[in-house]
Subunit: 186 residues, 2 copies
C-alpha cells in the first residue's frame, strides 16, 4: 500500500505536469514541473522512472478520455453531426494542449501500444457517418487521421482562434462530405 503522502504527491505531480506540458510540450523541464508541483525532482522520479514515462502517463490519460468521448458519440442519433463534432472537439482541445499534439506527432496516434482503442472508436464514428451519407464513402482511416493530425498540429503551432478554426475546418469538412448525388452506403 502506498503511503498517504506519496499518493498525494503523485496527484500533485500529474496535475503540474499536465499544466506545464500543455504549455511547453516535450521541451518542458523536470525541474519546472517539480517546482509547479511544489515537490523536489526526486519525488517525481520516485513515481515515474523517466521523463518519457511521465509524459506517457499523461498522454494515455488524455487518449483514454478522447476514446471515451468517441464511445459516447458512437450511439448518437445523428452520426454525421457526431462525427464532425468529434473532429472539432479534438482540434479545439489541441489548441491548448501541446503535449497531446507532440504525442500525436512523435509517438504517433498510430497504434502505439498502451493507448486504448481510440483508433477503433474513431473508425466507428467514421463508418456510421458514412452509412448515414454524411461523409464520402471513399475516405479511409489513414486520410482521416492525417487530416485530424494536421489540423491539430497547425491549431497548436499557430494558436488558431475560434474563428479561424471554424472557417478552416469548414473547408476540410466540405471536402469530407459526399459529392451531391453520391449514394449513402445503405
Amino acid at each position: 500500500m502506498m503511503r498517504a503522502d506519496a499518493r498525494r504527491n503523485r496527484a500533485r505531480v500529474l496535475d503540474a505536469a499536465e499544466t506545464v506540458l500543455a504549455r511547453d510540450g516535450l521541451a518542458a523541464s523536470m525541474r519546472e514541473i517539480a517546482e509547479v508541483a511544489g515537490v523536489g525532482v526526486g519525488t517525481i522520479y520516485r513515481q515515474f522512472p523517466t521523463k518519457e514515462a511521465l509524459y506517457q502517463a499523461i498522454v494515455e490519460d488524455r487518449m483514454r478520455r478522447l476514446a471515451d468521448r468517441a464511445g459516447e458519440l458512437a450511439t448518437a442519433e445523428d452520426p454525421g453531426a457526431a462525427f464532425f463534432e468529434y473532429f472539432t472537439t479534438i482540434v479545439a482541445d489541441s489548441t491548448m494542449k501541446k503535449v497531446l499534439v507532440d504525442a500525436l506527432a512523435v509517438a504517433g496516434i498510430d497504434a502505439k501500444a498502451g493507448s486504448p482503442d481510440i483508433k477503433g472508436a474513431i473508425e466507428t464514428l467514421l463508418t456510421r457517418a458514412q452509412r448515414a451519407g454524411a461523409v464520402r464513402g471513399d475516405v479511409g482511416m489513414e486520410e482521416l487521421l492525417a487530416l485530424l493530425s494536421a489540423a491539430c498540429l497547425a491549431a497548436q503551432h499557430h494558436h488558431w482562434d475560434e474563428g479561424l478554426r471554424t472557417r478552416t475546418l469548414a473547408v476540410v469538412f466540405d471536402g469530407l462530405r459526399p459529392a451531391r448525388g453520391e449514394a449513402a452506403h445503405v
Copy 2:
C-alpha cells in the same frame, strides 16, 4: 573582399546546414553541421553570428525559391491547376525539409520580416484561381495558409508517402472547390 577559403567554407557550411537541418530541424547541433561541412565550429560563427542567423539564412533562401515558383505559376494558362499544383509542391517539399516546416511553425509564414513577399505571391495564385472558378470565393488567405501549414506540418511529422499525400490533399482540394452552381467571380 572575402578571402577565397572563406567564401568556399561559407558555401560548405550552407550546404551542410541545409542537409542536416532538413533531417533534424531546429534540434540539429552546430557541432554536427560543422562536422558534415568539414570545418570547425568557429568557422561557422565567423559567417553567422548565431544559430538562428544560420537558420534564417537557409529559410530565407527556401522562401525565396518558393516565392519565385509562385511567381512563375502566376501567369500559367490554367490558374486552377497552377494553384493546386503549387499547394501540392509545397507539401511534397516539406515532407523532406524539416527546417522549412519548423520555420513555418516557429517563426511563422506570417509576415516575418526578411522573407520576400511569398504571401503576396500565394495570394495572387488564390485570387486568379477564384476568378477562374476553380476555388471557392469565400476562402481567405488566413484559412488557406492555415490549411497549407497544417498539411506541411503533418506531412513532415508522419512522413506522408505519395499515396497518402495524394488522397489527403484530394479531400482538402475538394473542400476548396466551389460547390456546384457557385458562379465564378467574373
